[in-house]
């Protein structure tokens, strides 16, 4: 299925949980528990999602077509069947856009700090 992205620029930043998951998936596909670990690493331990937050957010991101489940398409060697997720082309574009937005934010804040300190 092909979707043409007609408006990549975000009307509003992604919510925190969605943002962290999308950024974590930039590293590649992952299952739920691995995603929680990646988010902990990315946030330096500040964000630790519970299962309800994780799967509620994943469910929303799937419905918004930012991510997709790959469980049934990729051979697994896990002893337990897990759901794997990866970014869609739209999701990757949104994630890259969010990174650029955050970099711009940090850059502008640093420029306004006393002494013009840089991040």
């Amino acid at each position: 299925m092909h979707h043409r992205l007609s408006m990549v620029s975000l009307a509003k930043p992604l919510p925190s949980a969605s943002l962290h998951i999308v950024l974590a998936l930039l590293e590649g596909e992952a299952h739920g528990y691995a995603l929680i670990g990646r988010v902990v690493e990315l946030s330096d331990g500040a964000v630790r999602m519970g299962p309800g937050t994780l799967y509620g957010t994943l469910n929303r991101l799937v419905s918004e077509r930012l991510i997709e489940e790959t469980t049934d398409r990729v051979p697994r060697h896990d002893s337990e069947r897990r759901r794997y997720y990866q970014l869609t082309s739209i999701g990757r574009a949104v994630a890259v856009d969010e990174v650029a937005r955050l970099q711009g934010l940090v850059h502008r804040i640093a420029a306004h700090l006393p002494g013009g300190a840089t991040a």
């Binding site: 992205l5 408006m7 630790r48 799967y55 994943l58």
Partner: protein, 198 residues
């Protein structure tokens, strides 16, 4: 170290999620909780898990409610109540209290019927709702305010008017609350769009 009883309790608590969400993700959530119990202190996992449940269970129920297709029966029921109130008011017109109560019920239920009908049409057509919530809210506030003003002007409420007055107040409170709920749902449904595909 993983605690089988703790994982079992958590699995039991998952029953509070909406069935569809639970059927879809319940197994994975229980698996993750068991893995967290294996890797972290039990108290820390439970502290985080309880907060997570307390926040996400109501949120998932709200989402499930919003995803449900609108039911036109609601509009019909409110319309029926409205007509009944009007009939009651006309039949009992000799009593000012019954007339007032009947008309109040007719106005409030009629407003709710229109709001439910418009909401049904808007959602069915996959268009943003036409924001009937503020009309319902204003209607409820108007009923409340009018009743309170009338009671203050009259000064003392007779026994005959006590029940109609209380029912009218109740209708005002229910309508105001309905307007607030519809408003919250409207705000959530019409949150800013992040992206658009075509």
């Amino acid at each position: 170290m993983s605690d089988p009883s703790a994982a079992g309790i958590y699995s039991g608590l998952l029953r509070f999620y909406p069935r569809r969400f639970r059927d879809e993700y319940g197994t994975d959530m229980a698996l993750i909780f068991a893995q967290q119990l294996r890797d972290e202190p039990t108290s820390r996992v439970w502290a985080r898990g309880v907060v997570d449940l307390a926040i996400t269970i109501p949120a998932r129920h709200l989402e499930a409610h919003m995803d449900r297709p609108p039911n036109p029966t609601v509009a019909v029921v409110f319309a029926a109540i409205s007509v009944s109130g009007l009939v009651l008011g006309i039949i009992g017109g000799s009593s000012l209290g019954i007339l007032g109560f009947g008309l109040a019920v007719a106005v409030v239920a009629g407003g709710l019927a229109v709001a439910a009908w418009r909401h049904t049409r808007a959602v069915s057509a996959a268009r943003p709702a036409a924001a009937p919530w503020w009309q319902v809210l204003l209607g409820g506030v108007a009923v409340l305010a009018t009743t309170i003003i009338v009671v203050n002007v009259v000064g003392e409420v007779s026994d005959d008017l006590w029940l109609p007055m209380m029912l009218t107040l109740l209708a005002g409170v229910v309508t105001t609350a309905t307007g607030l709920i519809l408003g919250i749902v409207h705000l959530i449904e019409n949150r800013p769009v992040v992206f658009r595909t075509d």
